[in-house]
């Protein structure tokens, strides 16, 4: 509370200081400190991005023809992808994975937890949020193993199910994409929870009181007061979780390796397989660009959710 307050005053002070005293132009000498960051970003971020725009249109390969002498093949890689059933399989799986685990799972569970947090006993809140955050901070590979053991045939979930007399499951075989989606919910719910609880705490309480006086029930209050107020946070969070989920690799790689029979092979795993198991770097890069395209389209869609005044 006080922290945000002082930051605000500091910021105001900084702004007035900028206007009155400090030379405000950026001279070349003053830009010198930005050099290391600029070089790193140009060399290791922009460089690969530009290079991928070239690589995607070549037959570059680890071995064979494209390895010794790479040649330009135009849009052939993209045509190959569109003609490949496995590619479309991966696209569908990626969309299912993103929709189930990020858009629905992490967001709803995160919102649910953030709303519950305001009503539950302090001790319960503290314990449960600690557990949920612990699931989030664990390294990806560890999370992959933990959820693999959870869903495995002789894993924890089946032990619990049989002990309470329910039939056991074999999600890792029958519906691996659902198993890895649950794993991603387990791992990512804390992020949405933290974003939403930070956003909820900034909603002034008297808004609810006046809505309650007007006779709005809790559901009504949530839909017509909370959601509109949280719209920027919801749009931002949807965007961030979608982008994170689109690029999930390690979690699925550890749990299922994309299998069985490609049933959980999302685009990053397909891209990896094509580029490294089959050595087709050019083709793999083309797939990566298509993955970026999906991310960009999703981001544009979410940006439209933002209220007008926030877009600028």
């Amino acid at each position: 509370m006080t922290a945000t307050h002082t930051t605000a005053t500091h910021r105001a002070a900084a702004r007035s200081g900028r206007r009155t005293r400090l030379g405000d132009g950026l001279s070349p000498l003053r830009a010198v400190p930005m050099l290391p960051a600029a070089l790193l970003l140009l060399g290791f971020m922009l460089g690969p991005i530009l290079y991928s725009l070239y690589l995607a249109f070549t037959d570059s390969a680890i071995r064979g023809e494209g390895a010794s002498d790479t040649s330009f093949v135009g849009v052939q890689n993209f045509l190959d992808a569109f003609a490949d059933g496995d590619f479309w399989n991966s696209v569908v799986l990626t969309l299912v994975f993103t929709l189930v685990s990020a858009v629905v799972g992490q967001n709803l569970l995160g919102m649910g937890l953030a709303l519950l947090m305001e009503r539950t006993h302090r001790l319960v809140t503290f314990t449960v949020t600690s557990i949920v955050i612990a699931a989030w901070i664990l390294p990806e590979v560890v999370a992959g193993y933990l959820l693999y053991t959870f869903f495995a045939d002789d894993g924890s979930l089946n032990t619990i199910l049989t002990s309470i007399g329910l039939p056991s499951q074999d999600l890792l075989f029958s519906a691996p994409i659902i198993a890895v989606s649950f794993a991603n919910i387990w791992r990512g719910a804390a992020f949405s929870m933290l974003v939403y609880s930070a956003a909820l705490s900034s909603v002034p309480g008297d808004v609810y009181e006046s809505a309650a006086l007007d006779g709005a029930g809790p559901v009504r209050r949530f839909v017509s007061v909370t959601v509109p107020l949280l719209r920027p946070a919801i749009a931002t969070n949807l965007m961030l979780t979608t982008l994170q989920t689109l690029s999930v690799f390690g979690l699925i790689f550890i749990m299922t390796g994309g299998g069985p029979a490609r049933q959980s092979q999302t685009l990053p795993l397909y891209m990896y397989e094509q580029a490294f198991s089959y050595g087709q770097l050019g083709y793999g890069t083309a797939v990566a660009l298509l993955l970026l395209l999906i991310g960009a389209l999703a981001s544009i869609a979410y940006l439209r959710l933002l209220p007008e005044e926030d877009k600028r």
Partner: protein, 303 residues
Amino acid sequence: MTAGLSTTAAAEQPRPAETAAPRPAPRTGRCRAAGTRLASNLVMAAIGLAFLVPLLWVVLASFDTEASLSVAWPETWSLGNYSAIWNAETTFRPLGNSLLLCGGATLLTMVSAVLCAYPLSRYSFRAKRPLLLTIIFSTGLPITAIMIPVYSMFVQVNLIDSMGGAILFLGASSLPYAIFLTKGFMDGVPMEIEESAWTEGAGVYRTLWSVVLPLMRSGLSVATIFTFVSMWGNFFVPFMLLLSPDKLPAAVTLYTFSSQYGQVAYGQLAAFSIFYSLPVVVLYLFLGRNLGQGFAAAGGVKG
């Protein structure tokens, strides 16, 4: 209860409980409110339990030399798993490599980020807003999608399987978010103090080091810890860029983990997972209440 059931239940449950709640006569209203609170606590506890099971497995299995894939109370508690992996080959070298890789990259990222944030925070120039927007957008760039060109470039310039190369790339890939956070925290440091240091003859870098940085210590530690922890958990980057077994960090050796007899010993895997996860858990505990700061920033992505 399955994880699946509880996750959907989590989103749905509060509503039925709430619809039943308030409005009518005050006495039943209070009763219902207590009911709502009880229901909320129960739902919250159920979610917590579902999340807890996998975590419980890793802790219990690490003390159980007979560990299976299922969560179970060890018949005999033993440190056997820990002593089995207590050697340089399995544990200390990978963790040392992780420390070198992530420590080096964090240092590189934070030094570059602070230096870059300073002009961004202190001076105004025409390209500033587009520059900031570019930085914010690149925080969302899925790094997974550029790993093939990075691999291909690294092969050509002979940086593949080089710790230095991996540090440079890991550092660069975390830079946008680090710059964004650092700039935000730096904006909170008032300029007046800095100006008085200038009038006393301190140079720009000296002022940055001994006036500005100490004033943004807590923000700086948040940014540093966020950077380090995300690198520590990163699997794909070292998996692609490092090849020799003696250079691999813990993230990658855990993937190839097997006991000395070739089979996966789950107890040992659990013990190693605990060793590997411990640093990030400790760092987050250290962060404690400051954790929110990073999220206030994430919520205000507008810049």
